[in-house]
């Protein structure tokens, strides 16, 4: 029985789940939830997920939210091997650290800086938040300086989560990684190695990017 995924393609976290499902070989029954039209607040969806977020996974009645938990679950439950999410505690810990880095430092610094303008009607960007974003980019650049992928020498769900975030960031601000060459090199490696990267990630990132760029243009 296929697994339901409630999603919107512009959402980085949703794309991370789709990239993971593809690599694990799990078929997803995609169900669009149009956040712009407030579809996540419909009673049928609230019954499934009272927190009304996407992505939301429903696997034979088992409901799961939080993209990084969903990615981990897909590998833990359906992975033919543990390459994407190694079982050895130290290797797994590095992947987990990168996932929480993405959640709490990398993407959150980006959203703290840009979302007020893109989604909440703010008319200027905050300098203090820019500093935090630069710091986060510096950290990530450092993480991918001495290794090919975010958590080691091969692709893991850390890369899938981080590239969904990074591609969103790059489409909103194409110059964002100009001072961070290692991030750019890592992104190229990901694009080349991740199956169906364009359809499952780039297209959605473009959509987000258009929304972001047009909001930013209004405040220039």
């Amino acid at each position: 029985m296929p697994i339901d995924l409630y999603y919107m393609s512009l959402s980085g976290p949703c794309r991370a789940v789709m990239l993971t499902a593809k690599m694990v070989g799990v078929e997803l029954n995609l169900k669009i939830v149009n956040l712009m039209a407030g579809e996540q607040m419909k009673p049928e969806f609230l019954k499934i997920n009272p927190q009304h977020t996407v992505p939301t996974l429903v696997d034979s009645g088992f409901v799961l939210t939080e993209s990084r938990a969903i990615c981990a679950y897909l590998v833990n439950k359906y992975g033919k091997d543990d390459k994407l999410y190694p079982k050895s505690p130290k290797d797994r810990a590095v992947v987990d650290q990168r996932l929480f880095f993405d959640l709490g430092v990398f993407y959150s610094a980006f959203s703290d800086y840009y979302y007020p303008v893109i989604f909440r009607g703010a008319t200027s960007l905050d300098d203090g938040k820019k500093k935090k974003l630069d710091e986060a980019l510096r950290f990530f650049n450092m993480f991918v300086s001495d290794r090919d992928f975010a958590a080691g020498d091969h692709l893991t769900i850390a890369d899938l989560s981080l590239v969904a975030s990074a591609s969103t960031m790059e489409r909103v601000n194409p110059k964002i990684f100009d001072d961070y060459p290692k991030i750019k090199e890592w992104m190229e490696r990901c694009k080349n190695q991740i199956p169906d990267y364009h359809d499952l990630n780039q297209v959605g990132a473009e959509i987000f990017g258009q929304i972001g760029q047009s909001a930013l243009a209004k405040i220039q």
Partner: protein, 235 residues
């Protein structure tokens, strides 16, 4: 050989690691960092953790790790054994629920409290931002909804999800217990967890009080909206 833990007791993420380590039977060598003193920016610490945040552990072989949730997961994965495996079970669905709550705890609960209080505590804001205040209560509300259906956050027994949520929620409670007044399930769950978590006062209670005092001192200097305590907002 004990694990080094760089921490500050005010910090909820640090306290989740302390509680988890104890319950996993892991010996910890506590190394306090005074963040106000910028201890975390000293070269010796930057070598261990260039991201200069706490908590940070250094295990044998010099394995360094930050991000409290990753640390708690690692401690059980590596050292849990029979004694503490139940805190982070291997079964995929059970584990996924815990992972979901650890993510939620970080990006919603902890982040919302930080976004609400930091402007007043650290940046001289003269009021609590109304949108941040609503988000703050919405986040707590989701936890309460969850606990209406189960005794613990991820099911029928204590896990590292409860430990992480306890660290944050006890800190909020210590700011002013009225904040949790409308969340009866959380109150019951908090008391249950406080009894069950070994050495609770020493590993979490005292640090939560410090957090509470720190925030309270700042709130006393401003006009605080009633909705912080009532959780009620005009629609």
């Amino acid at each position: 050989m004990p694990i080094d833990l760089y921490y500050t007791s005010l910090s909820p993420p640090c306290r989740s690691v302390m509680m988890t380590a104890y319950m996993a039977g892991v010996d910890v060598n506590l190394k306090m960092l005074n963040l106000m003193n910028r201890d975390q920016l000293k070269p010796e610490f930057l070598k261990i953790n260039p991201q200069h945040n706490v908590p940070t552990i250094v295990d044998e072989d010099g394995f360094c790790l930050n991000e409290s949730q990753a640390i708690c997961m690692y401690l059980i994965n590596r050292y849990g054994g029979h004694k503490a495996q139940h805190l982070y079970p291997e079964e995929a669905q059970q584990r996924a629920v815990i992972d979901q709550l650890l993510n939620f705890g970080s990006s919603v609960l902890f982040a919302n409290a930080r976004d609400l209080f930091i402007p007043v505590v650290m940046h001289g804001a003269k009021q609590l931002d109304p949108a941040a205040l609503k988000n703050f209560h919405d986040g707590i509300g989701f936890v309460d909804i969850r606990l209406a259906d189960s005794a613990y956050a991820a099911g029928q027994h204590l896990t590292i999800a409860d430990i992480a949520l306890v660290a944050s929620i006890s800190s909020i409670d210590a700011v002013d217990s009225r904040i949790l007044d409308k969340y009866s399930h959380i109150q019951t769950w908090l008391k249950r967890c406080q009894k069950e978590i070994a050495h609770y006062e020493e590993l979490n209670g005292n640090g939560a009080k410090l957090y509470g005092q720190f925030v309270k001192n700042a709130l006393e200097k401003i006009d605080v909206a009633e909705s912080l305590y009532t959780g009620k907002f005009d629609v």
